[in-house]
């Protein structure tokens, strides 16, 4: 008899707002957070069409506000979302410290040139950087705090410190599947009896100089500037790439009997997790139809279900990924009657990278709770090659939702899917 895993806490920080209510209300109303982002000066060549978390003050969300000094922006978003989830769960972690796991989808180590510019400029001339000069004089200008602030597992560290967690952990810098992977690994760990509770989620901000440059060079980001709010156009005929974004989401996963015994509020249940590493090609890796199909099939098999009511698609908004996703999902969904409805929250939130799977999981749970799928506001000219039962652009879809899937993929051709179910009444 396998253990059941329920969600007893959620935390969300997105460009649509802090806390679940703000993001969900905007999604239901079809309000996009995507705009012309101009505030990151050093992201050269004009503006980026994207979405940012506005008016975020770390110390308002994080109990130990001294620690926020050591946090980069994305790390602060992650820690804030985890704090919200912990509070929402009303769980006393002190009694279970060794049986609590921490699983984080992360962006990887950060490299902020601002820490080094002065030092490098002191040691450089027209011929380039002179390491001898850098070592002798430049190094003293580099803050020793860089190493600490740039750690690739900082959210895991701060969360474990805040709640005195001692147990199993995993930090996964797996691009856009990272958040989904973290939740899936936490789910299996509880199901298999290694732990009883887990923090699971993801955090990211794509607004780092190197990354924006690199995405530009790969032509992955949308060039549409007006109306910017409709620029991230999943499965649309004119789609041209994603809107860069940032955010974080965390869940508290808990073994079901443990949750019911303490009268916890149950947001929903995680019932399946599947992955597939199938790149589109050796030239460009990237998501593939077979990858999307296999990950979904594996997750459904893991959940022991044949059909689902809705899919929260990866919806990256690029020509290739969306086509592959539509073909792959259709291969699986066309066997179900009725065919599952498909929505894509990135159309209003943008691409939040390692946070996306976690954010979309929280959105899916709210959708199941309310029986409503948000519209795909920017899919104004449907691409006929993307043959799925999409939610309309001008209105969401009201329906009882029992079981849903959340799909993710990454630029390396990895795919991950979660299957979620409504929480059963206790």
């Amino acid at each position: 008899m396998r253990r059941s895993v329920v969600v007893t806490g959620v935390g969300l920080v997105t460009p649509l707002g802090s806390g679940c209510r703000a993001t969900w209300d905007s999604l239901c109303a079809g309000r996009s957070a995507i705009r012309a982002v101009t505030e990151f000066e050093d992201l050269a060549a004009g503006s980026v069409t994207g979405a940012t978390v506005r008016d975020f003050v770390a110390s308002e969300h994080i109990r130990d506000d001294r620690s926020t000094r050591d946090m980069t922006r994305p790390v602060a978003l992650g820690v804030a979302a985890a704090a919200q989830a912990a509070s929402d769960s009303a769980l006393d972690f002190s009694g279970v410290a060794e049986r609590v796991g921490t699983f984080v989808g992360a962006p990887g180590r950060s490299y902020d040139p601002d820490y080094f510019r002065e030092a490098v400029s002191l040691a450089s001339d027209t011929h380039g950087l002179h390491l001898g000069r850098f070592a002798a004089a430049g190094m003293d200008c580099v803050s020793p705090l860089w190493l600490l602030s740039a750690l690739g597992n900082n959210v895991l560290y701060f969360v474990s410190l805040e709640h005195h967690l001692l147990g199993m952990n995993g930090n996964f810098p797996c691009g856009d599947v990272a958040g989904t992977l973290a939740i899936g690994e936490a789910f299996h760990a509880i199901q298999r009896g290694y732990i009883d509770v887990a923090f699971a989620g993801g955090y990211d901000s794509l607004f780092e100089t190197d990354r924006i440059e690199a995405y530009r060079a790969a032509q992955l980001m949308t060039q549409m500037r007006a109306p910017a709010s409709l620029a991230h156009r999943p499965f649309d005929r004119h789609r041209d790439g994603f809107a860069a974004s940032e955010g974080a989401a965390f869940l508290i996963l808990e073994e079901a009997a443990h949750a019911r015994q303490r009268g916890a509020r149950i947001h929903g249940e995680v019932v399946g997790y599947g992955t597939a590493a199938v790149p589109l090609s050796r030239m460009s890796l990237g998501p593939s139809a077979r990858g999307f199909a296999t990950a979904l099939q594996t997750a459904l098999a893991d959940a022991d279900v044949d059909a689902i009511d809705a899919v929260f698609a990866y919806g990256l908004g690029t020509r290739s990924s969306d086509l592959e996703e539509a073909v792959g999902l259709n291969e699986v969904l066309r066997r179900c009657r009725p065919r599952a409805r498909v929505t894509a929250p990135k159309c209003m939130v943008g691409n939040t990278g390692a946070a996306s799977g976690a954010i979309e999981t929280v959105v899916a749970l709210m959708a199941v709770r309310d029986g409503f799928l948000p519209p795909i506001v920017s899919r104004l000219n449907p691409d006929p090659e993307c043959d799925l039962d999409f939610v309309a652009a001008d209105r969401g879809h009201t329906a009882a939702l029992g079981t849903v899937a959340v799909c993710s993929a990454n630029a390396g051709g990895n795919h991950a899917t979660l299957v979620l179910r409504a929480g059963r009444p206790s």
């Binding site: 990887g108 490299y111 690739g152 001692l166 190197d210 992955l220 590493a277 790149p279």
Partner: protein
């Protein structure tokens, strides 16, 4: 339906390494038993003006030793190429160069995103402007490239836990095999911190040995005169396999993975708790998972990096976990010879443990000259020795306060 309802057994069927003391298994093992150090003056860039100008570099692997798809290899920087080479060697060692297509194979890599040219790029103002750059500078590129090159569609994980990365990757791979998510997992890690940026960052937190006049004697874990770690580089990759699958194809079995656990310290970001409680939880968890007791362990490949407080903390952790039995265990830190391989260290440590159980010998901790009273275990000082090793444990602790421990047993030992 779930693949399995109870966890199955997992064996080691292939090994591959790239290290400063050898990049074939026989070379690596004989260097370890000889007590050879891989440390020397940094050759790849001018480090002469830095407070520490030496490290343990990989010298005997030309990056063109990497074979296989050139398109995919072009995505890989130096440390990822080390990982690619070690993985290829491990697969070859396991007899899986061309596996049966029905075999479900996955990949688990412990590594971190590195940017060895970062300072130079700031100096020259060079942006990322190649379409493959977003992949090249991702942490997961090696895991994806390996999967793409070999058609491995199984679970594909990248783990970043600083110095505990590859130990955790191995543990996750082990657990996925136990529960039947795959038949085979290629797992391990790779890293290189020998670049001006990391030399700067580690110098500034005073973590590096400054024994510039005698690099080969600088890494001296547990010794009274230790003054910091020695940067290293390399990769360790292992083929792990479900027992039934390995036996069905007649694979050579190096040993069996018996248990794994990870833990958090909830202490400080870059310091270990003096009482070693976090790491001891991981060790205890691995023993419990393996259903073994402290007295069953004959060898520990310690994390110990040659820092004053880290080595003390680990000694405390070993005693906390093993109690009186700690004094009967041979404990050595092969970082005394390889330097600190960071994300790759756990995997290379596991390989040392596998070699120990198969050869019944334990490598030394070299550069032991003066006893530190706070570190009083048997660290196999200076000279390796023969010993019947039934079960070995590898431990790893990383920045961010995370730990991992793995147990490996001699194949056929009950």
């Amino acid at each position: 339906m779930p693949d399995r309802l109870i966890p199955g057994r997992v064996v080691v069927t292939g090994l591959g390494v790239v290290t400063p003391i050898g990049s074939t298994i026989p070379q690596f093992w004989s260097s370890l038993l000889e007590g050879r150090s891989g440390a020397g003056v940094i050759s790849r860039f001018d480090a002469s003006q830095f407070p520490t100008g030496f490290a343990a570099e990989v010298h005997d692997v030309a990056e063109d030793r990497a074979s296989g798809d050139p398109q995919l290899r072009s995505l890989l920087d130096r440390k990822n190429l080390f990982g690619w080479i070690a993985a290829s060697d491990a697969l070859h060692d396991a007899g899986l160069d061309a596996p049966d297509t029905r075999t479900r194979i996955g990949v688990a890599i412990g590594t971190e995103r590195r940017a060895p040219d970062f300072l130079h790029r700031i100096a020259t103002g060079s942006p990322y402007n190649h379409p493959a750059d977003h992949l090249r500078c991702s942490t997961f590129v090696l895991a994806s490239a390996l999967a793409a090159a070999k058609g491995f569609t199984g679970p594909n994980m990248t783990v970043a836990a600083a110095c505990a990365s590859s130990a955790q990757a191995l543990g996750i791979a082990y657990q996925k095999l136990q529960w039947g998510e795959a038949d085979v997992m290629v797992a391990g890690g790779c890293d290189s911190l020998i670049d001006p940026l990391m030399l700067t960052a580690f110098s500034q937190i005073d973590a590096l040995s400054k024994r510039n006049d005698d690099p080969s004697r600088a890494s001296r874990p547990f010794d009274r005169r230790r003054d910091g770690l020695v940067l290293g580089e390399g990769a360790g990759m292992v083929v792990l396999e479900r027992l039934e699958h390995a036996q069905a194809r007649g694979a050579h079995l190096y040993g069996e993975i018996l248990g794994y656990a990870s833990s958090c310290n909830s202490y400080r970001a870059i310091e270990s708790p003096p009482d070693g409680r976090g790491l001891s939880l991981a060790m205890q968890g691995a023993l419990r998972a393996a259903k073994r007791i402290p007295e069953d362990v004959d060898y520990i490949n310690a994390h110990a990096t040659s820092t004053p407080e880290g080595d003390r903390s680990e000694t405390a952790a070993i005693k906390r976990c093993f109690g009186a039995a700690a004094y009967g265990i041979a404990v050595s830190s092969t970082k005394s010879m390889t330097g600190h391989l960071f994300a790759a260290s756990g995997a290379v440590g596991l390989i040392v443990c596998v070699l120990a159980v198969t050869h019944n010998a334990v490598p030394p901790t070299i550069n032991q000259e003066v006893r530190d009273p706070a570190c009083d275990l048997d660290y196999v000082p200076n000279v390796g020795r023969e010993r019947n090793v039934r079960i070995a444990l590898v431990s790893a602790s990383g920045f961010g306060g995370v730990n991992a421990a793995l147990l490996v047993g001699k194949w056929g030992h009950a």
